[in-house]
């Protein structure tokens, strides 16, 4: 590491240079690296470099019993863990021809929407932080914490609840939980006004985020973009509505879309979805007490539970996009193969690389955060 090793004259003269974004960089989510080649201020090439967070989830799942994997799956995506649990449970239920009781399905949807609220608050807070507005991030984290309090009350866990299992949920809703959740929703709805004033109506932010990382609907479809990022390009596709699972077909909600497909539109979609999630949760609070039944169907001895041979592909709408589990069973007590189709794997690698080209150096972090990618899920 001597200065002479750095001498530029050994390279041909060039206006281009490379810059590392990560794996340890304040503008990048988690341990994830983006290597960008720049000419002046413009990115001409970007290469995503996952692998700093490889924990081998898919392989680990092959070595665990069907029920043990429940403790593993939420770790795949830290900010939005519940859809992982629910989706895996649904996969195993499909394989074993089980169906969770109706009450369990309502509770699962309640968790999913709570998780979506928490994840969206986290997501646009993170985006604000990439533009230097840390206030929004701290507000988002503080309000997310209130949701985590409700998760703790419901499930015993704040982030990884490990509450769903094939065949239902672990226990029923505690007394008074729904009232406290309703109070939280009132608070969050009033709080949205503050977020609007600070962030979504902030002219400086709007100018920063407009036209940043814009993609057309055709590009989005070609690159496999799903979730809020796809809806920001004007296509109203939402697994909750178009391929309903659990009891989503009994609930009223709008699919939020925006036309521009840029970072601003993606955030506005998330903001609209916050309102829709609150709306869904209010319906659940109203109707859940009248839903009868146990919250769990009897399951075989989990330690000797052999799922019938077969394969299943189950999808849910997570806060980041379409999340699916492809599970193959050969009739044993463990999965033969589990493949996670995570939205971030699409968004944070291919889409991020494509959208970064032509962007300014300042906007690379914005693009990554506006795609709301989740690095641990990129590299499973």
């Amino acid at each position: 590491m001597r200065p002479e090793n750095y001498q530029a004259k050994s390279h041909p003269p060039s206006n281009e240079y490379e810059l590392n974004f990560g794996p340890n960089h304040p503008g990048i989510e988690g341990n994830y690296a983006l290597r960008v080649k720049l000419r002046g201020d413009r990115v001409i090439e970007a290469r995503a470099d996952a692998g700093y967070l490889h924990r081998g989830f898919e392989k680990l799942m092959e070595g665990r019993l069907w029920i043990q994997n429940i403790a593993l799956v939420p770790r795949i995506c830290v900010p939005d863990p519940t859809p992982m649990e629910v989706c895996y449970s649904l996969s195993v239920e499909t394989l074993c021809v089980l169906e969770a009781p109706e009450r369990a399905q309502w509770i699962r949807v309640m968790q999913l929407e709570m998780s979506r609220l928490a994840a969206h608050l986290f997501a646009f807070g993170g985006h604000a932080a990439t533009t230097g507005l840390y206030t929004n991030m701290f507000w988002g984290v503080a309000d997310r914490d209130l949701i985590l309090d409700r998760f703790e009350e419901l499930t015993g866990g704040r982030v990884y609840s490990i509450y769903n299992l094939p065949g239902g949920v672990r226990r029923d809703v505690p007394d008074g939980f729904l009232e406290r959740l309703a109070a939280l929703l009132d608070y969050l709805e009033a709080r949205l006004e503050d977020y609007d004033n600070l962030f979504f109506r902030n002219q400086v932010f709007i100018r920063r985020a407009r036209d940043v990382g814009a993609m057309t609907r055709e590009q989005a479809l070609e690159w496999g973009v799903t979730g809020p990022n796809l809806r920001a390009t004007g296509l109203a596709f939402d697994v909750r509505r178009d391929d309903p699972y659990l009891i989503y077909d009994q609930l009223e909600f709008d699919v939020i879309t925006q036309q521009a497909g840029d970072a601003l539109a993606r955030n506005l979609v998330r903001r609209g979805e916050l309102k829709q999630s609150i709306r869904i949760l209010r319906q659940i609070i109203e109707r859940l007490p009248a839903v009868p039944g146990p919250v769990r169907v009897p399951i075989p001895n989990p330690l000797a539970w052999n799922a019938p041979a077969g394969e299943t592909y189950t999808r849910v709408e997570s806060s980041k996009g379409e999340l699916a589990y492809y599970v193959v069973s050969t009739g044993g007590d463990k999965p033969y193969r589990v493949q996670v189709r995570g939205p971030s794997a699409m968004h944070a690698v291919r889409v991020l690389e494509k959208l970064s080209v032509g962007a300014r150096l300042e906007d690379v972090a914005q693009i990554m955060f506006s795609l709301d990618a989740c690095p641990p899920e990129v590299d499973r």
């Binding site: 200065p3 304040p26 503008g27 230097g132 701290f138 507000w139 902030n202 920063r208």
Partner: protein, 349 residues
Amino acid sequence: MEAITNFLVSFPTEFPVLWILVRIVVIVLPLMLAVAYFTYAERKIIGYMQVRLGPNRVGPKGWLQPIADAVKLMFKEIIIPSGANKFLFVLAPMLALGPALAAWAVLPFDDGMVLTDINAGLLYILALTSVAVYGVIIAGWVSNSKYAFLGAIRSAAQIVSYEIAMGFALVGVLVAAGSLNLSDIVRAQEGGLLHWFWLPLLPLFVIYFISGVAETNRAPFDVAEGESEIVAGFHVEYSGMTFAVFFLAEYANMILISALTALMFLGGWLSPFQGSFMESWFTWVPGIIWFFLKILIFGFLFLWFRATFPRYRYDQIMRLGWKVFIPITIVWILVVAVAVVYKFPIWFD
């Protein structure tokens, strides 16, 4: 006893150099303390704006936090990158801090309470604040790091463009006051809240302060630090005391800009109640208190901006400086000149 009194009375004339040194220390020491507690105020105020508590562990309510930070930074190793020029690397932070302190020499705290009452005070300030950019440029350049270099280029371009808007704003003040001496500028604003220059020079006042924010590289103009893209910008390679000096310079500059804005647009040490029926109620308040209160207002604005504005993009900053601020200041200088020539009441009669 008498000997001591005699010594004290004759001290300024007997030892003029020592006397100046004493006065410098009297200004610089409280200034450094103010800088330290300005960082504390920033962390506390922004903390409350961000629904958290800020520092609250070191000493009662965290009062000793800045001291602890200073001690920590003093004991840290100064790491000089192997590709860096050692001399310039160490010189750069001093170049940044020096002007921020030197500018206080001409700032009047009260009527007559000024280190050197020179007639070219405004020019001196303008010259010194321009020197500060060299610290940033040199730091970014000699660090031999891409992040630092990008930060330095951005900072240089930004400071140079805002320097122009700032200079034009000062020309407006100069025309309005008819003097380059800061004490005279304050005296020209005598007569209460409505007589201060913030009202007739409102566009210049706003532009001067915003340019000041840009000049100190503070949010929302902190592209030179650009945490989410170039990590810390020009001082990314600095550690220990060399970093602390950059840090001090930034906050000393913020206080300086606040003080200058207070002097030139909010009547410095003048009481806001001059000329109103409340004037007699506040005659016991020394002018220096009014001056400090006005500095606090602008200091708070610096922090408020940081908590509520995202960072501008680099080209947006440039556009704002060249296409908005400079034309407005030029037009307003003409307006002020006409008002002064025709002795427009109540400010220029």
